[in-house]
């Protein structure tokens, strides 16, 4: 489905009584609803994010890490760090080492945030900007897809 076809569809709908239309073709699903609301998403199998961590018991001093939550819509100035390759996501260089970053940490530009492994290629993902880690979106050891959000960073100058 290309942009031209999409435009034609919208044109076509204008003069009808149909208020909403959904079509799926070659893996792309389009829903058009009158009133200016167009949504567009792929019908590829989506990553199911694990549910949010169970709330820590009252005795715990620190709140449970926010790993594994679905990514909340970022405020306009927030930066989403996404996976540049398909692979396995790790928050530390080895299981017995602390995570590179935790929620609330302030990171520098170029600081390593995590590793994504593909075929024993360990890809160190660095922060593009200085800022504060607002969210860690994936559990360590989980598979990640290309473009999947990993972190949300609130930029600081």
């Amino acid at each position: 489905m290309n942009l031209k076809e999409l435009k034609e569809l919208i044109e076509m709908l204008k003069d009808t009584d149909v208020s909403e239309l959904e079509i799926e073709r070659s893996g792309v699903k389009v829903r058009i609803r009158k009133g200016g609301d167009v949504s567009f998403h792929t019908a590829m199998p989506r990553m199911e994010y694990p549910p949010a961590a169970i709330v820590a018991p009252a005795v715990a001093e620190a709140p449970a890490p926010q790993a594994g939550k679905p990514v909340e819509p970022a405020k306009t100035n927030q930066i989403k760090v996404t996976a540049p390759i398909v692979g396995t996501f790790y928050r530390s260089s080895s299981p017995d080492k602390p995570a590179y970053v935790e929620v609330g940490d302030v990171v520098k530009k170029g600081q390593v945030l995590c590793i994504i492994e593909a075929m024993k290629l360990m890809n160190e993902i660095e922060s593009e900007a200085a800022g504060k880690i607002v969210q860690v979106a994936v559990e360590s050891g989980s598979p990640v897809e290309y473009g999947q959000p990993l972190f949300v960073i609130e930029p600081m100058s």
């Binding site: 996404t82 540049p84 390759i85 398909v86 692979g87 396995t88 790790y90 260089s93 080895s94 299981p95 017995d96 080492k97 492994e117 593909a118 075929m119 024993k120 290629l121 360990m122 890809n123 160190e124 993902i125 660095e126 593009e128 050891g141 989980s142 598979p143 290309y146």
Partner: protein, 327 residues
């Protein structure tokens, strides 16, 4: 410099003695200096016999890597253009990553005779006593990010080819890049990459090859899983020759990789021992069992499970299940 010249002269005269006078004349240094260099070679581990009125000859060559020996007839275009050789390093990968960050040229190779903190993936140890090969190569390929992991298969192809060229040992690749004899590991690769969102800054291809180490330098629990080329071939291996051949093969396959990754994948298929076997892959929080069917165009392992569903695996530990080979 003069020391290397003297060494070359002694080597080329084989068992015949070379007089101090002749060595002095041919290298252009004094006889006192010749004597000093001979002493220095002895400190390096060479056995040198000195006979009054006859001169010197080599009686023993130590199993030591020397910069000049490695470069002798190397003739590579990129890999090994610059070689840094250390008697000891914490980890050649760590060193090479630091050098790369500071701007070291593509093809720079870092070699150590032993590693005190040799690493595998996920912080696992790579046991690194003397007698083996430990090298890391800095590369800066200008390629799309999703093709980068294929470089690890390229590394395995190069190492396997080099071993096949020189040692009479039936080596093959286990996905993605372990080099095995039967089911025991002789070589492992760990690649580390520094990248921005869509651009590779540099990557370091780390290679460990078990060549001549004593089996008892390994912890007992690893001995059934690990072997050396010397043990398999039944004879000590010339590490310098093997290292040179690995560098040559890397140079050649890196060029192929940059031109056409599919050629690397085809060669990997020829040298592999994973495809066609029943396997398990563990990693990313689960273990899959099924038939290793193929590798896809990005080098991922395609595994067909018993229900007929296929999965493309990007990372994990493969175990080949015995006695279940599917023809």
């Amino acid at each position: 410099m003069y020391k290397e010249k003297i060494l070359n002269l002694l080597r080329s005269s084989h068992t015949a003695f070379l007089s101090g006078e002749e060595l002095a004349r041919k290298t252009g240094v004094s006889r006192t200096m010749v004597w000093k260099h001979i002493k220095s070679l002895e400190r390096d581990g060479f056995g040198i016999e000195a006979m009054p009125s006859q001169g010197y000859r080599i009686t023993f060559e130590p199993d030591v890597l020397r910069q000049n020996d490695i470069k002798q007839g190397l003739k590579t275009k990129v890999v090994g253009k610059e070689i840094h050789l250390f008697p000891e390093a914490a980890s050649t990968n760590t060193l090479a990553m630091e050098m790369a960050t500071q701007g070291a040229a593509e093809g720079t190779v870092v070699i150590a005779e032993l590693q005190t903190s040799g690493r595998g993936r996920l912080g696992r140890k790579w046991i690194s006593p003397k007698g083996n090969l430990y090298l890391s190569v800095i590369l800066r390929p200008d390629i799309p990010m999703h093709k980068a992991p294929i470089i690890t298969l390229m590394g395995a192809v190069a190492v396997t080819s080099a071993i096949r060229d020189l040692c009479n040992v039936p080596v093959a690749i286990k996905w993605p890049n372990d080099v095995l004899v039967a089911s025991r590991k002789v070589s492992g690769l760990l690649t580390e990459m520094s990248a921005e969102q869509d651009r590779i800054r540099h990557l370091v291809l780390g290679i460990g090859v078990n060549v001549n180490m004593e089996q008892n330098s390994l912890p007992p629990d690893l001995r059934p899983l690990v072997t050396t080329l010397a043990a398999e071939a039944g004879t000590k291996i010339n590490r310098t020759e093997l290292l040179r051949q690995i560098l040559r093969q890397l140079d050649c396959w890196y060029k192929t990789f940059l031109n056409n990754t599919a050629d690397v994948l085809r060669e990997w298929e020829k040298l592999n021992m994973t495809i066609g076997n029943r396997i398990t892959v563990s990693g990313a929080g689960e273990t899959l069992e099924g038939l290793a069917q193929a590798i896809d165009e990005e080098g991922r392992l395609v595994i067909m499970r018993d229900d007929g569903a296929t999965r493309h695996v990007a990372a994990g530990d493969v175990t080949i299940l015995k006695g279940a080979r599917v023809m």
